[in-house]
Amino acid sequence: MNDHASHNEAAERRTDLAHRALLQHSERIRTMVECSHDAVVTIGEDGLIESWNGRAETLFGWSAAEAIGVPLSELIIPPAFRAAHDQGLARFLKTHTGQVINRTLEVMALNKVGQEVPVELSIWPFRSGERYVFGSFIRDVSARHRAEAQLRRQAEQSIRHRDSLLELSRLPKMHFAQTLDHILAIDARTLEASRVSFWRFLPDQRSIVCERLYRADPAASGDTTGEVLSERDFPDYFSAMASARPVVADDACAHPDTRAFASAYLRPNNVVSMLDTGVWFQGRITGVLCHEMLGCGRAWTLDEVDYANAVASMISLSLEASSRAQAEQETLRSLAREKELSEVRARFVSIASHEFRTPLSAIKSSVELLKDYGDRLEVAEKAEILGTIDAYVTRMTGMLDQVLQLGRADAGRVEFNPASLDLPALCRKVMDEVSAPNTGRHCMVLQANGDLRDVSLDARLLHTMLSNLLSNAVKYSPEGGQVTVSLARTNTGVTVSVADEGIGIPVADQLRLFESFFRARNVGQITGTGLGLAIVKRAVDLHGGSISLASGQERGTMFVLALPA
């Protein structure tokens, strides 16, 4: 019996030990479940919640007391998925298989305040006695989702920035203003900024002026084009720009670099956030690329600051390309000008040499006659030939003087010194000089309208103009003809007209009349160099005036000078 009793005792002790071990084990499992970082929830075949751990309470907001006994689908499954859940449960109970069993999947769950929360869910069914129990681990993955979304957004932004920079780099950059408009528009679209503007430093480097502005919504924002901001008023901002430091002001009214703008610029324009970067060209800051958010603020990201810097570099490139294109065009223009000048010079030399050969030929033939045939010539003939030599030497000397005058004028070596002068008196003096060698052969008349005794003109140039026009009038009109000089005041200066009753100038020749060595076709035997009017034209040009004529063959000629005075 002892044996038997001790046997029983031992059996009881073993049962007790086993029972305690079981209890301990169950307690450990319960603690593990309770302390789990995942929500652990079990439901029965009827879909009612049977267990609800602490994490389930914090994740969904319902306490275990509130949750247990309630259909799971009503408590945490969003309405759209409830039917599917119920069908899945029924199918499992019938077929013992299911699509969601023994897998981890991501679904949306509903918390107590009605928000949908992304969760990772795994379900395992197990038998408990005669029935199935479904256990599930539910993990809140909303933080991971947020991080993933953030990463995705960053990736998308990087791609958008990269595409935008590619587009900017492909822009033709010859015409700065056009390129800039494109750059600002693309920039504003990419950064979703309310306004993007380019401000250029004025030559003193102490102020910037808004040169170009892009507005996402022109109706909702003011136009700051032409506005000027000075270093004197905003030293912090200018020193940031000078040190090549971008100004990243999420709250521009509070940011140390931009708060000085608050009352004069930010508030009136409703600017909340700014992102400004300097535009550098040839080693110095030449402008500022300015991004502004109107109405609502913006937390600029590092990527966005990098992008803004890259856009500023694009503007620098465009400045460089356009300045190079401009320099090339200027070189081409000056080459063309040089070519034209050298053609004019070549033409002049060719015509001049032709014009000099004629008097030289007369002189040479005269000399040859006297030398080789002198013994066979009459005394009177010899005298006539000597007279020819004399006359042609005088003519050549006059031509040389005129060529030199033209050359000086063309080289810009004729000075223009306007001074107060008595215009009628000067005209009378020149008229006397011109008529002296032709005493009494023409009737010279001077008409003056208004007070012209104090006008500001260059006396020497005026003398040149009048003596050329008057000697032409005398030379190309018959003896006894009248030459009329009329003077008048105008709003801007004076007009001087010289009219004759001479042979006139054919209309076809009037266009080329002021070219060197050009003479009208009807001059006949009247000598001349074709340089006088070219000289007059240059003197008029130096005055900033104009010369016009009214004439027709055999109908007299009138030249009109309009001179600012």
Binding site: S350, S353, H354, E355, R357, T358, L360, S361, A362, I363, K364, S365, S366, E368, L369, D372, Y373, R376, L377, E381, E384, I385, T388, A391, Y392, R521, N522, V523, G524, Q525
Partner: protein
């Protein structure tokens, strides 16, 4: 009978001197102050040779030459240009158009007379004076 030369020239002094030399050398010399007057004179009396300036009012030497070459009865009259134009291409251009010689002013009378005589050798009508 001596050869008849028509001098076409718009500069009065050059004309006077050329006429003097030609007459002193035994030629008959007539004058015309431009191409148009020359044409009128040629219609009245055909010269044996024409000594002609190029740049003249009303009708240039080039135009006169074209007129003459277009007229079968006048096309054979030899024409020597005497011009102040010193363009390098001037000479070959005028020879191609039918001028027989091209003198650039100022020229020696000896050169002019040499050219004239060379052309008149063998032509009927020459008498003395080396022709």
């Amino acid at each position: 009978m001596s050869h008849r030369i028509l001098v076409v020239e718009d500069d009065a002094a050059i004309m006077a001197n050329t006429l003097r030399v030609l007459r002193l050398e035994g030629f008959e010399a007539d004058s015309a102050c431009d191409g148009l007057e020359a044409l009128q004179r040629i219609e009245l009396q055909k010269p044996d040779l024409i000594l002609c300036d190029i740049r003249m009012p009303r009708m240039t030497g080039d135009e006169l030459l074209d007129h003459l070459r277009a007229r079968p009865d006048l096309a054979q009259i030899p024409l020597i240009f005497a011009t102040a134009s010193a363009e390098p291409s001037g000479r070959s251009e005028r020879i191609l158009r039918g001028a027989v010689d091209y003198l650039v002013k100022p020229y020696d009378f000896k050169v002019m007379l040499g050219a004239v005589r060379k052309l008149l050798v063998g032509l009927p009508g020459g008498t003395r004076d080396g022709v």
